[in-house]
């Protein structure tokens, strides 16, 4: 027995094969009395039911939070949360924020400065200085 098996976990790439929405739960907090929640209350009355209907994969939890600014908290499959304070916003702005939370992956925001990111090996291979005839300097 000179071969030993090693444990590896296969790497999934969301969208290849199946797509799983990363946002699993959206907490929506409002206050009945504060002026900063006026837009949120209107959003809950006008937009939320349609938004929730079009997104069955997200669990929506609406709960009051008296004497506090309204917030939306997205919970993601990777265990992280993303929260947005939507004080004094119009319902249409809040809808934009809800879509932002829906589309987020839950990861920390990273700077992407490479045009292509891939886990596949390069087709062309990596250049080696030890092969070929070399280059005359």
């Amino acid at each position: 027995m000179t071969i030993r098996a090693l444990e590896r976990v296969s790497v999934g790439q969301n969208g290849i094969g199946s797509f799983i929405l990363q946002c699993k739960r959206l907490d929506i907090h409002y206050c009945d009395h504060s002026g900063s929640s006026r837009g949120m209350n209107a959003f809950i009355k006008t937009h939320l039911s349609k938004f929730a209907q079009t997104h069955p994969a997200i669990e929506f939890a609406v709960s009051p939070r008296p004497r506090k600014h309204p917030v939306m908290i997205g919970h993601y499959i990777n265990g992280r949360q993303k929260s947005i304070c939507v004080a004094n916003m119009e319902p249409s702005q809040i809808l934009k924020k809800a879509e932002l939370l829906r589309d987020a992956s839950g990861d920390k925001v990273k700077r992407v400065n490479k045009p292509v990111t891939s886990i596949n090996e390069s087709v062309r291979g990596v250049w080696s200085p030890y092969h070929g005839n070399g280059m005359a300097v």
């Binding site: 027995m1 000179t2 790439q13 799983i20 994969a57 092969h131």
Partner: protein
């Protein structure tokens, strides 16, 4: 190859067509007006009236036998409601319809509407949380034994009050382990107790972690039930991965039972087979040069010879040697290394991998022959395998 009649074996997993939830109801809610088709499993309520469900049966991966206790309830035996003693070990199936988490999980996995929420809720109950085979996922997982993909978050301790949309398992209770991978053996309580797993063969057989060590035996509670079916119940060192895997298998089983074979194949393909796994990193060689020599002898190749192809900086702090392995005029493998020995070993490993890791290309699977006017099954050629034992 004779086809396994899973539909017949697992008919108890399918809900009745008229009301899918009715068959999954708890004994405590069954009124006498409901036909008693599947209320009682093989456990005997009469002899042990105060027995709780999780103490009653072994969680067996085999499909549950058909029920034959239909007539017992009419004979005036105490109803299961009277027998209920304490909270249920897992949430009541009737709560599945009102669970937002469960509905969201159903939608997130893009499951067909043919799969009821009650089935998905049952798929989330590990045998360690609820040992009753009618309410845990052991049978569904047996139907859908395939590779895995985790979904849920950290589970709460199991019990009746838990949201049915969460995975439920108990690390201190025996569970069911599906083994479909050749020689990998389940790490039973007994093997953890008596086997150190340090021997060479033990490292292969008990290789539960990347280093092939099974860890020290934990002090575990006594078995709750001492009967002949439960004495081999499995206590795992780390219950969570097994619970996740059982859930995934149970979902595949549910897709198979409710939507059929093609849907299950599509589900497995889109969720698991599209994941990336580098096969060349799945194993390591102990004596690659020796094994390569034996391989060449077996295949009647000339004995392998290592040649230095190129080098740089031999006297420097960071030299590089490129070693190629040749059999006659054929180059078998090549690798760079910081010294001659490690370059030789790496080149031998490359040669062995290029020999063993060939791909037969697109070969079908046996279930391809189930379709109409399909060609006869022709299995892919498999190498005669390892040469040093």
């Amino acid at each position: 190859m004779k086809r396994l009649r899973l539909d017949r074996l697992a008919s108890q997993l399918l809900a009745a067509q008229t009301s899918p939830a009715a068959r999954l109801l708890r004994p405590s809610t069954i009124s006498r007006s409901i036909p008693q088709t599947c209320r009682h499993s093989s456990l005997d309520y009469n002899s042990q009236p105060c027995q709780r469900r999780h103490q009653s049966t072994a969680a067996s991966p085999a499909p549950v036998e058909e029920e034959d206790h239909v007539a017992e309830v009419e004979d005036g035996e105490p109803t299961p409601e009277d027998l209920r003693n304490g909270p249920l070990p897992s949430p009541h199936p009737s709560r599945a319809a009102s669970s937002a988490k469960l509905a969201a999980l159903h939608a997130r996995l893009s499951l067909s509407s043919k799969i009821p929420l009650e089935t998905l809720a049952r798929a989330l109950v590990d045998p360690s949380a609820d040992a009753h085979p009618k309410y845990n996922n052991a049978n569904l997982a047996y139907v859908g034994s395939t590779p895995a993909h985790g979904v849920s978050s950290q589970p709460p301790p199991p019990g009746e009050e838990v949201d049915p949309g969460l995975l439920q398992y108990d690390p201190l209770k025996p569970t069911v382990v599906m083994n479909k991978w050749g020689y990998v053996r389940a790490n039973t309580f007994e093997s953890a107790k008596y086997q150190s797993g340090k021997g060479l063969s033990g490292r292969v057989v008990y290789g539960s972690n990347p280093f092939g060590e099974s860890g020290p035996a934990k002090s575990l509670p006594d078995f709750e039930v001492e009967n002949d079916r439960n004495t081999k119940a499995l206590y795992l060192q780390d219950a969570a991965p097994n619970a996740y895997a059982n859930f995934v298998r149970a979902v595949v089983g549910a897709v198979y039972m409710h939507c059929g074979r093609d849907a299950a194949k599509n589900f497995v393909r889109s969720h698991f087979l599209t994941r990336t796994l580098d096969l060349s990193k799945l194993f390591e060689f102990k004596l690659p040069t020796r094994e390569l020599a034996r391989l060449c002898a077996r295949e009647d190749f000339e004995a392998p010879v290592a040649r230095l192809e190129s080098e740089t900086g031999r006297a420097s702090r960071t030299p590089v040697f490129v070693v190629g392995i040749y059999s006659g005029n054929d180059k078998l493998g090549e690798a760079p290394g910081p010294d001659l020995d490690s370059a030789l070993v790496a080149a031998s490993i490359n040669a062995l991998k290029s020999w063993y890791l060939y791909s037969p290309g697109q070969v079908g699977v046996p279930s391809d022959t189930f379709t109409e006017d399909a060609a006869a099954w022709k299995p892919a050629y498999v190498d005669i395998g390892e040469i040093i034992s």
